[in-house]
């Protein structure tokens, strides 16, 4: 796919100002391939028994010759489907993986946050862990010590600072880990999908911090699937697919390209004679979002109503379209879903006319337990599974948060109680 430089239609002043700053990260012709052994030889015994048998490997190109710059103070998003090289790129920037070819230059101290709370030791107190984690993340020890109080305060854990981590709740752990990240005070932050943590109040605090960082001198590279985060925080974003940069520039545009890419039809090449839309898709996803209390969001409180929306457009007539959606939890278990044909809308013909739009809408009884959820989508022609237009593993992510200790996948309990009385 050719690289498109997307120019923001209405460039805001601050963004233009950021783009004029010097580069904080400069990546040139970066290549990374993995040698995946077809048969893993992991003992000396096997090596000795079969000395002549070379290890057969398959080459997997994770990043093929990519170049880009990130400016100082920029909030830069990297998006893409699973397995398209986003996390590999972040790990190379973080010096965890070694690049095969190409060069990377960075200005300033780098703190990678591939995961929250790396190196946390449950047998140590919060104070000790904050220092250990800080040093692991590249702080000098005296810096880590001088930041300790600020971290504890941000995490709102003053009373528990001397408690061992094994006695912490998962929410407290996440708050502590996030606070370490925020307070790490490095010039370049590399963050992999760590938004959406903690309760509503803490999330608001995190959002405020991100906005603050957005306006500061610190450079952030954020890898995420959360398009609302891209649109909210990023000055620029980059879409990776198959190890290539597909698009780079205005975050809204990149987010939409990502959604469209996610919806790329399995027959997009048109090899079996289907009419193909100009950009290769027979069906376009214009937008998809989750709504709660009338606002677009990716974080919904337990029990609060959830609405799901998606808007499609067909470049050419599609006869007998049917739309199917399934909600999966983080383990990939299907929680529920629905399927609709266009004829179910009263009086509508059983065809999706070219140029018109279909707005799919669903209201979900939110009995979901706290956790991360993904929405899958299928669209078929002629109501037949044999004629798929779209089969997307994941078009939307959302998080349900809350503190109700519910057991299982969904909360099915309406009322539960005990009565104590004499034997009858």
């Amino acid at each position: 796919m050719p690289l498109e430089e997307i120019v923001s239609p209405t460039p805001e002043a601050p963004d233009a100002e950021v783009a004029a700053r010097p580069a904080a990260i400069e990546v040139r012709n970066l290549v990374k391939t993995f040698e995946i052994p077809l048969k893993r030889v992991d003992s000396i015994k096997e090596r000795v028994l079969h000395p002549l048998q070379g290890v057969q490997t398959r080459r997997l190109v994770a990043l093929s010759d990519i170049s880009f710059d990130v400016h100082r103070g920029e909030f830069f998003g990297i998006v893409g489907r699973n397995g398209t090289g986003k996390s590999t790129l972040l790990k190379i920037l973080a010096s965890i993986y070694r690049a095969e070819a190409g060069s990377i230059r960075m200005a300033g101290r780098v703190a990678p946050f591939i995961e929250l709370g790396v190196g946390f030791n449950p047998d140590l107190t919060a104070r000790e862990n904050v220092i250990l984690n800080g040093v692991l993340m590249g702080l000098r020890r005296d810096d880590a010590e001088s930041r300790l109080e600020a971290v504890i305060e941000f995490a709102e854990l003053e009373e528990f600072a001397d408690l061992k981590l094994k006695n912490y709740s998962s929410g407290m752990l996440v708050r502590l880990a996030f606070a370490v990240m925020i307070q790490s005070d490095s010039d370049i932050l590399l963050i992999d999908e760590v938004l959406a943590v903690g309760d509503a109040a803490f999330q608001q605090k995190c959002k405020d911090v991100f906005h603050e960082i957005r306006g500061s001198d610190r450079t952030v590279v954020l890898v995420t699937h959360d398009m609302s985060a891209v649109e909210q925080y990023c000055h620029r974003a980059m879409l990776l697919d198959g190890g290539d940069i597909v698009a780079i520039g205005d975050p809204d545009e990149v987010a939409h390209r990502y959604l469209r890419l996610n919806f790329a039809a399995p027959t997009a090449d048109g090899e079996d004679g289907h009419p193909v839309a100009p950009d290769g898709a027979e069906l376009l996803l214009l937008d998809a979002w989750v709504e709660s209390a009338g606002e677009r969001t990716t974080n919904v409180e337990q029990g609060a109503g959830i609405e799901f929306h998606a808007i499609f457009q067909a470049p050419a007539d599609i006869p007998g379209p049917s739309f199917g959606f399934v909600i999966n939890n983080a383990e990939g278990v299907e929680i529920g879903g629905f399927g609709l044909g266009l004829e179910s809308a009263e009086g509508a013909p059983d065809v999706f006319p070219a140029g018109e739009q279909v707005h799919v809408r669903a209201k979900i009884a939110n009995r979901l337990t706290a956790g991360r959820y993904a929405v899958q989508c299928w669209v078929h022609r002629n109501h037949s599974f044999a004629e798929p237009l779209i089969a997307s593993p994941r078009i939307l992510d959302f998080v349900v948060y809350g503190t109700d200790a519910t057991v299982g996948l969904v909360d099915i309990i309406d009322e539960a109680g005990l009565t104590l009385g004499p034997k009858q």
């Binding site: 580069a23 904080a24 400069e26 993995f34 992991d42 003992s43 000396i44 015994k45 090596r47 100082r72 790990k91 190379i92 920037l93 973080a94 010096s95 965890i96 993986y97 070694r98 690049a99 060069s103 990377i104 230059r105 960075m106 200005a107 300033g108 780098v110 990678p112 591939i114 995961e115 790396v118 190196g119 030791n121 047998d123 140590l124 000790e128 220092i131 250990l132 040093v135 692991l136 993340m137 590249g138 000098r140 020890r141 005070d185 490095s186 010039d187 001198d217 610190r218």
Partner: protein, 282 residues
């Protein structure tokens, strides 16, 4: 507050390595990780330290019983009980450090795959924790030695000359094994057996003199044998044969020296070669 005060220049990023990230950061990390592990072991339980001393002491008690009451080997050796105690404690440092180092890099998978830091810190921190442990244990051992009636000798001051090559050897083997274990999981089994072979093959439980004349020179090819034999002369019994005497002549110590240097170089080479790839191989 962060960047503005420093001058920020674009600098080449070279990827992961055994040492990368600056000397200061290396030592800070090493110290912090060792201290953390040490604290965890000793402050976790009230009797923490006593438990860790109890282990070599129990082994010592069993061996002392076997070799003085059953084999009656010990009665012919000057100060046998304290020699045995010293050897068991010091060899314990070598054995425990190397065995726990084997799995250390893999066990720290979480931080290896998710942070950027000098990989060498992991096996080194195991050895350093072992050294702290040894330091405490040696205080107890010297108390025993004095209580047993051995008069203090000026050669006690040469203890660092004993511990330095031992620590180097321990470190080199730890580096070698921890890097190999990432690829070959049977290294742990192999090394556990090899460490037991070394325990019996090194003159720890018995003095070198009881070995047949023809076997002594081959036994002294083992660098550990040289270290422990010399320790015996300096710490416990000045009349015991020195390492050179046990081997036959000073020149016969050369094979041990060659092996010692070879192991150190091999450990360094293998670890630095593997370090950049460890995160991907895990």
């Amino acid at each position: 507050m962060s960047a503005s005060s420093e001058t920020l220049e674009l600098r080449e990023v070279r990827g992961p390595s055994a040492l990368g990230g600056g000397t200061r950061r290396f030592w800070e990390l090493l110290w912090l990780m060792s201290l953390t592990e040490f604290k965890r072991a000793y402050f976790g339980t009230v009797l923490g330290y006593f438990w860790s001393l109890l282990r070599p002491l129990m082994l010592f008690a069993v061996l002392l019983f076997v070799f003085t009451r059953i084999f009656r080997l010990g009665s012919a050796v000057e100060n046998y009980p304290v020699l045995l105690l010293f050897n068991v404690v010091v060899f314990g440092f070598f054995q425990e450090s190397t065995v726990s180092a084997v799995t250390s890099v893999v066990a720290q998978e979480g931080i290896v795959r998710k942070t950027q830091f000098p990989r060498l810190v992991i096996p080194l921190s195991i050895v350093l924790t072992g050294l702290m442990n040894l330091g405490l244990n040696l205080i107890a051992v010297f108390a025993f030695i004095l209580a047993y009636g051995v008069a203090p000798m000026w050669t006690w001051l040469l203890l660092p000359v004993i511990l330095l090559p031992l620590t180097m050897l321990t470190t080199a083997i730890s580096m070698l094994l921890s890097a190999l274990y990432v690829r070959f999981r049977d290294v742990l089994i192999i090394w556990t057996v090899a460490a037991t072979v070394l325990f019996y093959g090194t003159p720890l439980l018995y003095p070198i003199e009881v070995a047949p004349e023809g076997l002594r020179a081959p036994m002294m090819v083992n660098p550990l044998a040289v270290i422990f034999e010399q320790a015996r002369v300096w710490i416990i019994d000045p009349n015991a044969p020195t390492a050179a005497e046990a081997a036959g002549s000073v020149w016969r110590l050369i094979p041990a020296l060659v092996i010692f240097v070879g192991v150190c170089v091999l450990g360094w080479r293998v670890f630095t070669r593997e370090a950049p790839r460890i995160a991907e191989a895990l």
